[in-house]
C-alpha cells in the first residue's frame, strides 16, 4: 500500500532541501476537499494534501496512543508526529491508486505550524523529504516551496543528457555541477534539421550525382540518421581529392583527433601500404618528405597548407581537402622546395 510513499522517500533520502527564494504566492481561496476522495483539481486552487501518521513504517519518534492500525487515524491533537505519506484510499484497496485521503471528519482545520522557523505561507504538495529531521507537531500544515524535492536525480537517461544540478544554493551560471556544454547536449539548441548548419546539411543530404549506387545512397541516408544520434560533435565529413586520381574519397574529420591521425588515414586511403605491419612513425604527408602535399580549402575558398593552425581551428574552417603534387605547391614555403630537391625521386 505504501509502496509509492516508500520509494519516494528512499529517493528523497539523499536530496538536499531547496532553499526557496522568498516569494509569496497568491492567497489560498476556497480550498476544498472531501474525505476519502481525490481532491479534484481546479484552476487557481491548490489542494492541500494532508498527512497521515504512519506507525508501521517505524519512521516516527512518537506514536500516538490508540492509532495503531495500518491505516492510521489522524490524530486530533497537536502533539503527535505525523509523516506525510500519500496512501491508497479505503475504497480503492486493490488498485493502489494515488488517492489522497484523510480519514477525518469534515471539521478538519488547516493549521499553520507556528513552530516553523519561517512563517511563510506557501502552497505546496505534500512531500516528506524536507522534514525528515523535524518532528511534526500537527497533522497538517500548509507546505512551502521548501518542501519540494529538488534533488540531483540518479538519472537513467541517456548519457548525452544532462544531470539535473543541485539547487541547494542560489543558482548561478557557475554551478558546481557544470552546466551542459552546448556541443554535448542532444537537440540543443533547438534548431530543426532544415536550419541546422545550412550549408553542411544540404551537402550531406545530396549524394554525389547519379553515379552512386543505391547502397551508397542508402549509406549516406544512414549517415544522416547517424547525425541524429551523434550528438557529441558536429558531423564533419569532407571530400578528399588527390591530383592524378579521378575518384575522390570522403573522410570524417571528427573521428580524428589530430593531424597525424588524419594524415595516416589519408595515406591508407590513397597510398596502399605494402604490408600492414609497416607503421609509419609519422606521416610523410605532413612533413614535406613525400612528393605530395596535403592542402585544404577553407571557408573563404583559399587553398591552405594543412598543419599550420591548431586542430580545432582547422576543423572549424576546413571545407575540403586536396592532396597536391609537390610541383604545384612551389608557391608554398621555401622549405618544401628544399625537401623536393632532396626526395624528388622518392615514392611515398
Amino acid at each position: 500500500m505504501f509502496v509509492w510513499g516508500q520509494s519516494w522517500e528512499k529517493s528523497m533520502m539523499n536530496c538536499e532541501t531547496h532553499k526557496a527564494d522568498m516569494w509569496v504566492p497568491p492567497p489560498l481561496s476556497n480550498v476544498s476537499f472531501a474525505p476519502n476522495s481525490y481532491p479534484l483539481f481546479s484552476h487557481n486552487k491548490v489542494s492541500i494534501f494532508f498527512c497521515k501518521m504512519d506507525v508501521t513504517l517505524g519512521l516516527l519518534a512518537d506514536s500516538p496512543a490508540g492509532h495503531g492500525d495500518a491505516g492510521g487515524g489522524v490524530p486530533s491533537g497537536g502533539s503527535t508526529t505525523a509523516r506525510p505519506i500519500l496512501t491508497g484510499s479505503k475504497e480503492d484497496n486493490n488498485k493502489n491508486s494515488m488517492v489522497m485521503s484523510s480519514e477525518v471528519t469534515s471539521s478538519y482545520p488547516v493549521v499553520v505550524d507556528q513552530n516553523l522557523n519561517d512563517l511563510e505561507l506557501g502552497l505546496g504538495l505534500s512531500i516528506g523529504c524536507g522534514l525528515k529531521s523535524k518532528g511534526w507537531s500537527q497533522y497538517a500544515r500548509i507546505l512551502t516551496a521548501k518542501d519540494f524535492p529538488t534533488c540531483k536525480q540518479n538519472s537513467s537517461s541517456s548519457s548525452s543528457s544532462v544531470s539535473i544540478p543541485n539547487s541547494g544554493t542560489k543558482r548561478t551560471a557557475t554551478d558546481s555541477v557544470s552546466p551542459p556544454n552546448c556541443t554535448s547536449v542532444v537537440g540543443w539548441p533547438p534548431v530543426s534539421k532544415a536550419h541546422r548548419m545550412p550549408s553542411l546539411a544540404n551537402e550531406i543530404k545530396s549524394p554525389n550525382g547519379n553515379l552512386i549506387s543505391i547502397t551508397e545512397q542508402n549509406k549516406s541516408k544512414i549517415r544522416t540518421i547517424g547525425i541524429k544520434d551523434c550528438s557529441k560533435k558536429k558531423y564533419q565529413s569532407v571530400k578528399v581529392n588527390m591530383d592524378g586520381s579521378l575518384i575522390g574519397r570522403k573522410v570524417d574529420l571528427n573521428v580524428h583527433t589530430s593531424y597525424e591521425m588524419l594524415a595516416q588515414t589519408l595515406e591508407q586511403m590513397f597510398f596502399r601500404r605494402r604490408s600492414s605491419t609497416e607503421a609509419a612513425k609519422y606521416s610523410r604527408l605532413l612533413d614535406g618528405t613525400s612528393q605530395f602535399v596535403l592542402t585544404y580549402e577553407d571557408k573563404d575558398g583559399d587553398c591552405m597548407l594543412v598543419g599550420d593552425v591548431p586542430w580545432q581551428m582547422f576543423l572549424s574552417s576546413v571545407k575540403r581537402l586536396r592532396i597536391m603534387k609537390n610541383s604545384q605547391s612551389n608557391e608554398l614555403a621555401p622549405r618544401f622546395q628544399e625537401n623536393n630537391e632532396r626526395h624528388r625521386t622518392d615514392a611515398v
Partner: protein
C-alpha cells in the same frame, strides 16, 4: 423557426463555416445539427494521429475532402525522438483509399509515409489535388514519380523540409504532357539535381503556377529561363544563388525579375554571392515574405535588401543580420508581423556577429504589428524582456532561445524570471511561448497566473522543483501542448494534475525526474491517456517503481493504445506485450 428549416438549407449555411472550432461548436448544438454537420464536414484536422483512429474518423465524417494529420511530437525536430517511434501514415492512407474516393487533399506533418502509400494515393483518389508532406520521411523519388504520373488534377505538391531518398532526378519527367493544373511546387528539400528540361517543360505547361520552390541544385543560370516562363509567380524559392562572375547571367536574371510583377515572396538563397543580390531588387517593394535563413551574407548586404522592402510582413534570417540590420528593419518595415532569427553557428558565439538582445528590442519598438518572434541569441536581460513586453503587448508567439542553457541576465546575473514574467503579463493573447536562460520556479508561477491563453509551452533546463510544473498545469487554462526537457520536474506535480492532462493534446517530458511508478499510477488513473515511456538505452527496469524514465510522452486518445509501438516503448499493461 429554426427546426423547420430543411436540412439542405442548414447544410448550405454550415458550408460557410470553415473553422474547425466553429464546426465543433455547431455539432454539439443538438442531435440533428450533429448529424447534418457530420455529413457536410469537408475538412478534418487531427493534431495527433494517435488520438483517434482512421475508422472513427471515417465513421463520423463520411464525406471528407481534406485531411490534415500530425504525427511525431514536436521535439522530433531536434532529434529527441528515436528512430522508429511511429507516426506511420500507412493505415490512414489505406483506409481512406477505401472510404474516401473523393478525397482531394492530404497534409501530413512529421509522419512516415512510404512509396507504396504515395502510389496508393495517386491511384485511389480521382480528384486528388493537394499533397503536403511537411517534415516527413520514409519515401523516395519513386513515390513522387507515381504522384506525378497518376494525379491528373494535382494542384499542389509541397515537400517542405522532408527527408526524401533521392534516387533519381527524373521523377519530374513523369508528369504527362496533358498536365496543366499545377499551382504550387515545393521541392526545396531535395538534394540531388532534377532534370532541368523536365522542370522547364513543367513550368511552361503550368499557366496557373503561383508557387515554385526550387532546390539548391538548380543553378542560378537557369533561374532566369524559368522566370521568363512563369512571370505570374507569387512565391519563388531560388536554388543556389551564385554563378561565378557572369555578367550575362546577372543581366538575364535582372531582366527576368523585372518581369515578375506578382512576386510577393522569396526564399532559397543558398550559397549567396552578394554581387547577384541586386538582380532581384526590382521586386523588393512588393515583397511580403523574405526567407534569407540559408543566406550567409553579412549585415550590410542584408540591410541593403531590407531597406528596399517596406511591405515586408515576414522575415526569416540568420543572425548575420546583427543588431544593425535589425535596427534597419525596425525603421523600414512597419508592417512586419513575424520575425525569425536563426543561429549561424550553433555552438559558439561567432565573434564577428554582433547580434544581441538590442536588435530584438529595436524591432519590437519599431514594428507595431509584430506578433510572432523566434529569436536565437547569446545574451538576454530582464530589462530587455520587460521593454519588449511593454513595447509589444500584441505578441502571440514568443520563442526565445538563449543558446547556452541556464544563462542568467548578463547585466545583473539574476534569473530571467521577471523578464519572462513581464512577457506573459503584458502579452495577454500569447498563445505560444518557449523559454530559455536561467529560470527558477518563480517564472512558472508568473506563467500560471497570467498566461491564460497559452496554447503551447516549451521548457528546457529550467525550474527548481515540482512546484514549477504544478504552476503551469494548474494555472494555464488553455494549455494544449507542453514539452519539457532537462527540468527537475517529477512525480508529484504530474500526479497532482492528472485531470489536466485529459484536456491537453500532449505532454512530453524528457530527462526530467519522473519515475516509472508515477507513470503506472497515471496510466491506471487515466484510461483515456496513452502513457508512453521511451527507454532507448534499455536500462529501464519497470519493476522498480522509483526508476526514472528517460522520456515520457502522454497524450489523450479515443483510440486506445497504439499497435505500432517499437520495442523501446513501455506502456501500461493492457494487453500489449510491453508492459510496465
Amino acid at each position: 423557426m429554426v427546426y423547420s428549416l430543411p436540412e439542405e438549407v442548414l447544410e448550405h449555411v454550415f458550408s460557410f463555416i470553415t473553422s474547425d472550432k466553429d464546426r465543433n461548436v455547431v455539432s454539439v448544438v443538438c442531435k440533428s445539427w450533429y448529424e447534418i454537420e457530420r455529413w457536410c464536414r469537408r475538412k478534418v484536422f487531427i493534431g495527433n494521429c494517435y488520438a483517434v483512429s482512421p475508422a472513427i474518423m471515417i465513421r463520423r465524417f463520411p464525406e471528407v475532402r481534406s485531411v490534415e494529420l500530425k504525427g511525431k511530437p514536436h521535439f522530433a525536430d531536434f532529434n529527441l525522438v528515436p528512430e522508429g517511434w511511429g507516426g506511420y501514415a500507412c493505415s490512414w492512407i489505406d483506409e481512406m483509399s477505401r472510404s474516401y474516393p473523393w478525397l482531394e487533399e492530404i497534409r501530413l506533418k512529421r509522419m512516415v509515409i512510404t512509396d507504396e502509400s504515395l502510389e496508393l494515393i495517386s491511384t485511389s483518389f480521382k480528384n486528388f489535388r493537394v499533397l503536403v508532406l511537411s517534415s516527413c520521411e520514409g519515401f523516395s523519388t519513386d513515390g513522387l514519380s507515381a504522384i506525378a504520373a497518376n494525379c491528373r488534377n494535382l494542384r499542389e505538391l509541397d515537400l517542405q523540409e522532408s527527408e526524401v531518398m533521392d534516387l533519381s532526378g527524373h521523377w519530374l519527367s513523369h508528369f504527362p504532357d496533358t498536365f496543366t493544373s499545377l499551382e504550387s511546387l515545393n521541392m526545396s528539400c531535395l538534394g540531388s539535381e532534377v532534370s532541368f528540361s523536365a522542370l522547364e517543360r513543367l513550368v511552361a505547361m503550368s499557366p496557373n503556377l503561383k508557387t515554385l520552390r526550387l532546390n539548391r541544385a538548380v543553378p542560378l543560370g537557369k533561374l532566369s529561363t524559368l522566370l521568363q516562363q512563369a512571370p505570374q509567380l507569387v512565391e519563388l524559392g531560388t536554388g543556389a544563388y551564385s554563378s561565378g562572375i557572369r555578367s550575362d547571367v546577372y543581366s538575364a536574371l535582372s531582366k527576368a525579375f523585372l518581369g515578375c510583377k506578382e512576386l510577393k515572396g522569396l526564399s532559397g538563397f543558398w550559397d549567396v554571392d552578394p554581387s547577384y543580390l541586386p538582380a532581384f531588387f526590382s521586386v523588393c517593394s512588393r515583397l511580403t515574405t523574405l526567407n534569407l535563413s540559408y543566406a550567409t551574407i553579412r549585415s550590410p548586404d542584408i540591410t541593403k535588401v531590407i531597406n528596399l522592402c517596406p511591405n515586408l510582413q515576414r522575415l526569416l534570417v540568420l543572425d548575420h543580420i546583427e543588431d544593425s540590420g535589425l535596427n534597419a528593419l525596425a525603421l523600414s518595415c512597419k508592417n512586419l508581423q513575424e520575425l525569425r532569427v536563426f543561429p549561424s553557428d550553433m555552438y559558439v558565439a561567432d565573434a564577428n556577429v554582433t547580434l544581441t538582445e538590442q536588435g530584438l528590442v529595436s524591432v519590437t519598438q519599431g514594428c507595431p504589428k509584430l506578433q510572432s518572434v523566434l529569436y536565437f541569441c547569446h545574451q538576454m536581460s530582464n530589462s530587455a524582456l520587460i521593454t519588449i513586453a511593454k513595447n509589444r503587448p500584441n505578441l502571440t508567439c514568443f520563442r526565445l532561445c538563449i543558446i547556452e542553457p541556464r544563462t542568467p541576465d548578463y547585466l545583473t546575473h539574476e534569473p530571467l524570471d521577471i523578464g519572462f514574467g513581464a512577457i506573459v503579463k503584458h502579452c495577454k493573447n500569447l498563445s505560444r511561448l518557449s523559454l530559455s536562460g536561467l529560470l527558477t520556479d518563480r517564472v512558472f508561477e508568473y506563467i500560471g497566473t497570467h498566461a491564460k491563453k497559452l496554447d503551447m509551452l516549451s521548457i528546457a533546463f529550467a525550474g527548481d522543483s515540482d512546484l514549477g510544473l504544478h504552476h503551469v498545469l494548474s494555472g494555464c487554462e488553455s494549455l494544449k501542448k507542453l514539452e519539457i526537457r532537462d527540468c527537475p520536474f517529477g512525480d508529484t506535480a504530474l500526479l497532482a494534475n492528472v485531470a489536466k492532462l485529459a484536456t491537453m493534446r500532449s505532454l512530453w517530458m524528457s530527462s526530467c525526474a519522473v519515475s516509472i511508478g508515477a507513470c503506472k499510477i497515471l496510466s491506471r488513473k487515466m484510461p483515456m491517456l496513452n502513457v508512453e515511456v521511451i527507454d532507448e538505452n534499455g536500462t529501464l527496469n519497470p519493476k522498480l517503481d522509483n526508476c526514472l524514465v528517460e522520456k515520457l510522452y502522454v497524450y489523450r486518445t479515443v483510440a486506445g493504445p497504439r499497435s505500432d509501438m517499437p520495442g523501446y516503448i513501455w506502456t501500461m499493461d493492457r494487453d500489449s506485450a510491453n508492459k510496465i
